[in-house]
Structures are given as structure tokens and as C-alpha cells.
Symmetry: D2
Subunit: 352 residues, 4 copies
């Protein structure tokens, strides 16, 4: 009952259920009777473990169900009505949330990007050009910055870059929010130098992705300062984002954080992606976006694509001007060495 | 790690995880690789099974995460901007959703109720008084009717009542929407004469509750006519209600519907509630709301309450004018005969 | 080209254009060239004159176009997303704004009323019952109080009542907002003891009605503390409530406030309403709502109504259980002694 | 009491009150007693005259107060929740409405432009790329096209261009909406070949600007098909856009349309703008946007700007990369030959 059981599964990183340790925790705690709405002991324990991992004991953690939901709730919670959210024009909030941000009443103020990353200089320009415009009160005020780590293109902000973005936002008095839907892939990446404590120190709010990193569902929002957002419980409820059995989110994150599993759960996925990228390049395929985490973007001719698609589930991104297609292969916490080996063989076969 | 492990758990019906058959299905399918966003084979199979149970092959089913979310999405999807939703003033949408309906732009037009149920005559009055008001265009137009089966007070609409509500709505050209958060408790109730096929025939949309009826999370919206609501997929996404791993909802409902488990999963809960209500009455406690499903509402003096609360987790509803409190005991699919026996003993002990 | 030129015009108080002094000011200033958006010298002068009349030099004034618009903008500006506005269930925001408050995302929390007025005790009950409810975060938090002076029934809050409402709100930390759509009729009423300085002292925001009190359009929002609402200019713009030629509002309020015209412009309307109420009562018609300002509510049999309606434009309010109708006669700043005399003759004729 | 009485007024086209004929109509009708909310005889007469001018007897006309308000109401009325509005990235809805469109829940889908104009080819690309995207349901669907005639840069769509845009929209089944805030300047322009009947034939909704074309306030929305938008009255009310004394809008448009004044009221403004543009060019100043209506955009060095700004109120648009500034001079229906002569002298003086 695979997507197509005869194909190798590299279409995305949310195709399987939960990591065995996570599933096991759900099974083990299933018949416990606990309070609802995230006020249970598992959510408390998960919060504590996460804050410890973030070296941020004075913070708080909220558990939500999915990425778009988390982004919408947090944007609505962080902004006032006359504010917009700055984001790369490739940012998830700008493109693939079916207008969720606008449905919440806010404009996405699109910024230029390089491989999905925004530059502090562009943030400064956007803020300054708003501040100095005589008609600024007729325009949407930049009220927060949204970035994703890793980005939608799998790339990473370095610690130096994140420091500069954070300093820029703080100088302007606007919050920095980090979408960590795939954060475990960043944390496990060889090139990464941004830790959870760094995020807690530099961001005003960020979320630690579960759905794509080993849970059935769930994202953990970290607010480094407890009480930073008044009314948040009610806003979560109002958005339909408050789970009655909230403890199923707590249980899963407890499993990921009680012994540091989150930091290593995606290591193999990153390694495998590196091997795939190398093999593609070795066989002459262009990889126009630097592979840093679990997503490999490459250009394929129609013939190459036909060959690949016959054996592998993969993702189409966009038509390239020269007739090639930008494609994506994604590994995940569930990717096996067997599947990677299979894929590398297919690539090799295609190249022959 | 119970709410309070030393107490009997009758506080609500969402305190435990999933029914063993449901959990088992999640475990069994965990490592399958499937498409996301509810387009997977399990969601398809669950949809088919649900439509079969509803004798409604021309319908469609959508899986969402929780009750408030489902109500908000469906109200937003069924109404145009100048419409409001009629509901009992005790309805979940009117009271306990933190203003979710209004956050979506719509007024809840409150109706009188009897034990949580609205009467067709009051619907007719509301519609007619709007229609004949010279200022009607300055007022909110009733655009749909929201009811819950069972209601927030555990009571049931009879088939005759539902037929009349449906006919009233259809005569006025407005949709009837049924919140079935606890529908399994209605379907299993001895007094119930409203079947799933009746709901599919008489409602324009309804949802089959999972969260309170044996799943970890999830509600199944049934639209008896496929395609009745254009843009629904995008609206679900926009509300942050589209789960990436949508298949975990499909898997759970598949388990509940493939062999009719949903129709019997709450039978014992209803039986137990009847026994509890009888025992309370036998010992002289007033049960002011007819017990029909899994919720028992009764009045307790401060002394009775103290005694009960020392042994049982139960719910406070409201202060009664005479100094007593309206309390709630709720059974669930997970309630055991041992717990019921324990509770009955406590009641007996209190009465002595 | 009257509504029906053959009838006496008592249907409402917005049937004619502007008071001659107001119209004259518009004519006199018509070809001046000024900055737009309310930043012109006339708006500044009107603001200064209004703040002087309110004995509130540290406040600020914003000019909007109409009552529903002003209420929606101010509710949206004063509330956060999880808040609702408390109001009498007869309040304009609760009934006759086509759901504008809900379209802005907020619930109207309806309060009981006596002739359109709310009581401080009911406010306290509403706030306390929210504060002490274990599920309060699942419910809409009372975030402000809306009252109208005079009310939709033409009745007046006394200074003592207003003091108590204000103290109640301040004790709870929520703003008090006063809708003064017909404020000039209150200020000119013999029984009134609430002055503009009282309003500025006791309310957190209120508006001085223009549309029903002598202008072509326009309402002046007074914020007793300058800068109390950040982002207000942009929120007004966002609501489509910012007039390019904002000065036409300033010019009109300048005319009403530069020499105190606003305080006397509705005196005759109030006097005339008192005479009408007395005459109705003298002729045996019941006046179930105390006449205090320019609106007279009375009960008419079908025969009386037929007779009246043949000669007078008047308003239907609601069907009375005994077959009579609750009707409204409204005077205005434009009502003439001739019209009143005519109306009294009709009442006399009807009674014969 | 001018903006700065010592300077020539070319800052914008909403600096003065109403055209004398419009003001005279307001004065003449001031003490008439009419029904409110636009249901009066003047609104009816103005509607009839406008539909006659549009050769569109089967249409309907709605009177609103200002441009941003009209755009927000119409976008909200024409779109469903999952739709966005396509517009030039320089369009008023995209830039200068403080996020009004997003506050209404909709994304502005920005299109490339040439001097403020969009091309049918780009519309087709936008629609087709949405339609063929596998993730289209996760993205905002283009639900209407917004254009302005003349554009924010004063340029004009030709009839051929408008025909193509209209055909493109109709082929895709999406409405075309035209913002005519400055429509009188288009209709009077020598190069213009788009008439009111053309707009009524090719657009699904458009508005005839009053505020910038001779009224105190007011815009007339034309729907070529009566009843095309259900619930519109209530939506206007809900947006706070329904004027109690609606007749003051009807009276003004009646004055503009009863004898065709609207078609000639801006003729001199266009002529004057042409003269100004020619003079600027003659003196070596670059005019980078073709002058077609009442707005003249030109580039000035810092020295030129200092000289001009000492004598003339004018508008700053943007800093040019080479150190010059893009400036705007706007004429209006109220511009006098004396003022133009004065301005031309200043330009001449600057050039010396």
C-alpha cells in the first residue's frame, strides 16, 4: 500500500508514520488517563526536556499540529493588525499555505533571497524604506521576520548570518520567527553551526518540527521568554489548533527529547542526501542548489527524468528555461541504506 | 501518570489515547510510505467505508483534526460573509470555541434550547423574523443551522425532530450541519433512532467524531453530495487544518469503520452512564437533564461534592441558585466495569 | 422630492442634509487647497475645539464617516484577537451592523438591559463569571464595554450610572467605549447630567456624532489620552475609513464646535419630542419607554397606526404581543415647529 | 488656510472641495427630507443617469465613500476565501491601502507592469501556471483581475488592450474589476479610446471616481448586470461603508452625470498636464513615464528639486539610482490657468 510500492520513496519527508521510539511511546502511554489540552504531565515533561536542550529554562513550549497551522497561529499572535510579515519570496508562508497568512489578515512582505535565504542587508533596506516613506502609514508596516532553518531549498543559515539577522530585527524592535519544520535535518548537518541554544538566544519564537522529523504530527513552538505572548492559549483554541488529547503531542516530543534522539534522528538522512548529490554530480547532473541537509535539487533532461520517474518517487519543482526540470529528491529519518543504494544504482543506470 | 491516579477517571471522554484496534492499525501501517494530505489509500478506504455505512455512495469525506477546528472550517465553508450560524445558546460554537466562529467573521445567532436541543418552531421564527424585518439587510442573515448529536448535554434529537429540522432548513434554503463530536455515543444509545444514513439524508454536512470516540485525534466530515463545497481543500489548508501525514486520520477511521466498530465502540459507555444515573437518583441526587448517552448531569450539595471529589475526577458545570452545583460524570469507550463499580460504591458511600 | 412630501417627516434623524451653519462652512472653504487625510488645518482646528469642549487638552480626535464604521474601527482597535465586546443585547453593535463586529473577528457578548441601558452589576457578573470559569481560556474574554449615550431607545445614563460603569471597567482593566451617534440630543436633554468633560474623564474612547446631529456625514472619535492606540491611522486606512478629503469632516465639526453650536443644535428636537410624548399620553397612548431625548416610542393599535401612517412618516419597531405595534417618532435638529404642530394635530385627530 | 498658501498647488488631485456644480446641488437639496442608505430619489436618479452614460440599462450602481474602501468591499464581494486578486505590483491595492485587501483575507498576486499597466500575456501565464501546478490547492487561486484606468502612473489602457484583458479573464472565468478613481481624467484624455460603454461591456465591475474628479467624496460602483453580487448591501454595511445620508453621494453624481459634466470636468486638467510635461521636456528634464492624463512624472536633480519645492507643492515618488528624484505634478478639475502659468514660469526659472 505504498505510494507506488514498486518505486523507491524519495518524494518527500512526510511519507511514513513515526520513528519507532516515538510510536512506542504512544503505545506505552495509550491507556493513561490525563488532563486534556496540553496540560498533562507528558506535555510538561516534553516542555522541560526541550527547554533544557535549548538551555532556556525561562521559556515556554506550545505543541501544535502542523507547519502551516503553526505559522498562521504564530504570525497572528506576533503581529498587530497593521503589520505584515517579511519573508523570502520562496518562504512557505509566501507560497504554499493557500493564503493562510492573508486569511489571518496580514500581508507577506516578500524579500529577495539566495537559495531560499534572506540577507540582513535586505531586511534593513525594507525596514528603512518603510520608516522613511512619507506615506508609510498608508502601507503595511514590517512587523516581524519569518525565516526557515533549513530553508525550503534545504540550505542553512550560518550562526554568523543568524546573529546578524537577529541583531537587525532587535535594532528595529521586531520579532524574529524561525520555521523549523525540518530543524532536525539542520541540527544533524555537518556544515551546521547553529544549535538549539543559539536559536533560543537569537529568535523571539521558533518551532521545532515534528511532522517531518519523526512524529506522526506535531510541532513544538519555543518562546524563549515565558509569557511573551498574552492570550496565546485562547488564540490557539480560536484557530482550531488546540488538540483535546494534547498529550499525544507531548508524548512524541518527550520521546524525541528525553535522551537527545532529536539531535541524531536525521543524521543518516543528511548523509544519504550528500551521497546522492555527489553521485548525481559525478554522473554529470547539475545540482544548482548547495546540498546541505536532506533535500537534493538537481536538473534533469526529459530523458533522464523519464528514466528516473520509472523507478523513483521524486518531486517536480519547476521547469527550467533550457527545457530541463528542477527536481527534488528528499531523504528522511525513515530512509534506509537499502533504498539509498537502490537510488544510487538507478542514477548510475540512467547515466549509462 | 494519571490525571490523579488515585481517583476514578470520569472527568471527560478524551482522557485516554486510542481504542486498541485503532492504535493497532497505526502501529501496523506505520512504516508504509504513502502520499500526503489525505490523498493516500487509507483515507480513500476510510472514506469508502464511511460512505457505505451512511448508505451514501455519492458523497465525500474529509478528515480533520478536532472539533473546534472542524466547526470553524465548515462554518467558514458553508457561509457567505453576510451570514450567521444559528445555534442553541448552549452550542459548542456559541460558548466553548474561544470565539473561533467570530474570528472567521461570522455571528452565532443564538436560539433558545431545551436540554441543549433547538426546536424547529424557533428556527422558523428566527428565519421569518429576519425575512420580514424591514431592516433585514442591516442585520445578520441566518445562513445555516448548527446542531450537535448528541448535544452538549448528552441529549438526543429523535428522528422525527431531525426530520422536522431538516425540512425547515430546506424550506428556507439553508444548510443543516450536525456536530457529531460524540456521535458514537448517540448511535449506541438505546433511545436513539437516528442512523448514519438518516444523517446523510437529512443533513447537508455532518461530522463523525473520532477524538471522543476512540481515535487519538480526528473527525470525519461527511458531505452527502460530492463537490457540494468548492474550494474546500484550499480552505482546509488555509485554516491550518490539513495534516501532512493525513493518512494517520484515514488509518484510524478505517479501523473504526471497516467492520462496524464505530457503532458499538461506545455501547458500554452508554450502559455505564445509565447505571450511574440510576444509582445517583436512587440515592436521592437530582438528575435534571435526561441521561441518554455517556454524560450524566446531577446536582450535588457542597458536602456531597467534597466527598465525591475526594475519590472521583468529575466536571463542574455551573453553580445552581440553591447552593448546589451542577456536576458532570462522563464515561467513555475506555471506561471499565471496574471503574464503574468503584464509582457506584463511592456514590453509595456518599449517600450513607 | 421628499420621502413622501405629503407626509410629516418623523421617520428618523438622518433624513435631511446639514445644519445651515455646517453647510455654510463647507461652501465657504470649498476652494481652499489643503493636505488630505485629515492632516489639514480644519481638522486640527476642529480637534482643538472639541478637546477644549471636553476639557481634555491632552487627548486626540479622529474623524470618521459613519456610526457603524466608527464602531467597527474602534472595536478592532481596542480589542486583541481573543477579546469580545460587552454590549446591551439591544446595542447597535449587537443588532444593526450586519455583523460588522464579527466580520472584524470579535464576538458581541450580550448583556441584559433596561430600556437600552446596561447595569454595572451585570458587567461585574459577566467579568467575574469569565474570570472564575475553569474553561475561561476556551471562551471569549470580555475585552471592552460598549454603551451608547443616548441609547438606541433614546434613554440616558445618569452621571452616577456612568461613574459606576467606568469604575467597574477600570477595576477590571478594560476600556469603556461610548457610542455617541446622537450625543447632541443627550447633551441638550433637560434630564441629562453627563457633560463632554465627564465623558472624557470616564470613557477610554467615545465618539461625538455628526451624521444625526447636523453634519452631512462624520463622527468625531475622542481619545482622552493622546497616543493611546498605536497604529490607529493605518487601521483606519485599512478599514477603508480614511477620507482623502478628510478636511470636509474637520470643516463640519469646526462649525459645530467653534462657538458651542453642538450643545444647542438639538435642543428644540428634545423639546418637541417631550411635547409629542405628552400629547400621545394625554390621548391615551402608552409610551412604554421613558422619553428623554429625541425619540418617542409608543404603542399603537392597528387602527391608530393606519391613521397615523396616512399622515406621518414614522418608524415600526416591533409587534407587541397584544396586537399593538411599538412605533417610533423621531425629531431632529431639522424639525420645525410647523411640523410638530402638524403632528400634534394628527395625534389629536386620531384620538377623536 | 492653504496647504501652504504661498505655493502653487500641484501636490495631488484631492486638495480642494467639490466642483461648483456639485456643491451647488448639495446646497440646493440640503433641506429635502429623504430615505437613508442610498434608497432615496437622488441615488436612483444618479444610478439611472450613470447607466444611461454607460449604455447599460440592465446594470446597477452602488455609491461608496472612497477608493480604498471601494476596492476592499469589491474584492471581498467578488472573491471567495481561497482566491487572491491579481494586480500590477504598483497597483493601489498592492501598495497604498495599508493592507486592506489582506485584512479582508485575500492575497494580492502581484504582476509585472509597464508604467503601471499589466499585459494580458502575464495574466495568462499567472492563471496557467496556477492551473497546471500540482500543488495548486496549496496556493492562492487567482480569483479576479484588478486594474486601474488611468493607472497609478497616469497611463491609459487602450481599447484593444482592455478588450484583450477582458477576453483573457472571461476565458478563465474570473471577473475583471477596474478602479476608476481618476476615470474622468482618462475619459477626457486626447489619446483615450475607452468609453464608459466599453467599460460596462468589458469589465465585470468598475467604479467611477468622484473624490478625485469633482465631488467632496464618493465613488460610483457600476455592476453591468443587476444582481450579479448577492448580499452586496449587507456586505457594504458590514464594512462600515454604508452612509446613513446616502443621498449626498447620489446628489453629487447626479450633478456630474445629468448633463454629461463628468466627461468634460477634467479636460483642462489633462491639457494643463500636457503643457507641463512639454515644458519640462523642453527645459531638459526627463519625463520617464508617458504623460497621458493629469499626472506628470519627471526626474529632478537635488538642485532642481530645491528650486521647485520652494515655489510649488509637488509629490515625491522615489529616489532614482543616479541621485535624481522621481517627482509628480498633478493637475485636477480645480486647476486654474493662472496656476499653470505660474508653474510654467517656475520651470522656466529653474532651467535658467
Amino acid at each position: 500500500m505504498n505510494n507506488d510500492a514498486s518505486k523507491l520513496a524519495f518524494a518527500s519527508d512526510y511519507m511514513e508514520g513515526a520513528h519507532p521510539a516515538v510510536l512506542d511511546a504512544l503505545v506505552r502511554t495509550n491507556m493513561e488517563s490525563t488532563t486534556g489540552y496540553g496540560l498533562d504531565p507528558h506535555c510538561k515533561a516534553a516542555e522541560k526536556a526541550i527547554l533544557a536542550a535549548c538551555e532556556c529554562p525561562g521559556g515556554e513550549v506550545w505543541f501544535l499540529e502542523g507547519g502551516t497551522q503553526t505559522n498562521r497561529v504564530m504570525v497572528d499572535a506576533l503581529l498587530r493588525p497593521w503589520h505584515g510579515v517579511m519573508a523570502a519570496k520562496t518562504g512557505h508562508v509566501a507560497v504554499h499555505e493557500a493564503g493562510a497568512i492573508e486569511a489571518g489578515g496580514h500581508k507577506v512582505l516578500e524579500l529577495p533571497h539566495a537559495n531560499g535565504k534572506v540577507a540582513a542587508a535586505d531586511i534593513r533596506t525594507a525596514i528603512e524604506s518603510h520608516t522613511t516613506d512619507a506615506n508609510r502609514e498608508h502601507m503595511v508596516e514590517p512587523g516581524m521576520l519569518y525565516i526557515s532553518q533549513p530553508t525550503e531549498y534545504g540550505t542553512l543559515y550560518s550562526l554568523a548570518e543568524l546573529e546578524e539577522l537577529s541583531a537587525t530585527c532587535r535594532a528595529a524592535g521586531i520579532p524574529l520567527y524561525v520555521d523549523g519544520a525540518r530543524l532536525a535535518y539542520a541540527l544533524a548537518a555537518p556544515e551546521n553551526d547553529v544549535t538549539l541554544p543559539d536559536l533560543a538566544r537569537l529568535a523571539d519564537a521558533f518551532y521545532i518540527g515534528g511532522t517531518k522529523c519523526g512524529t506522526l504530527l506535531g510541532e513544538a513552538v519555543v518562546l524563549p521568554q515565558v509569557g511573551a505572548i498574552p492570550g496565546l492559549f485562547s488564540m490557539i483554541k480560536q484557530h482550531g489548533a488546540l488538540l483535546a488529547k494534547g498529550r499525544i503531542l507531548g508524548v512524541q516530543f518527550e520521546a524525541l527529547f528525553e535522551d537527545g534522539l532529536y539531535l541524531r534522528v536525521c543524521s543518516y538522512a543528511d548523509e544519504a542526501a550528500a551521497a546522492i548529490a555527489q553521485t548525481l554530480k559525478k554522473h554529470g547532473l547539475e545540482v544548482p542548489v548547495p546540498q546541505q541537509t536532506n533535500q537534493v535539487f538537481f536538473l534533469a533532461t526529459p530523458e533522464q527524468l523519464d528514466f528516473l520517474a520509472a523507478h523513483v518517487d521524486l518531486g517536480f519543482m519547476e521547469a527550467w528555461p533550457d527545457g530541463r526540470s528542477l527536481m527534488r529528491l528528499a531523504t528522511s529519518w525513515s530512509t534506509t541504506p537499502q533504498a539509498v543504494e537502490g537510488l544510487l544504482k538507478v542514477v548510475h543506470g540512467m547515466a549509462i
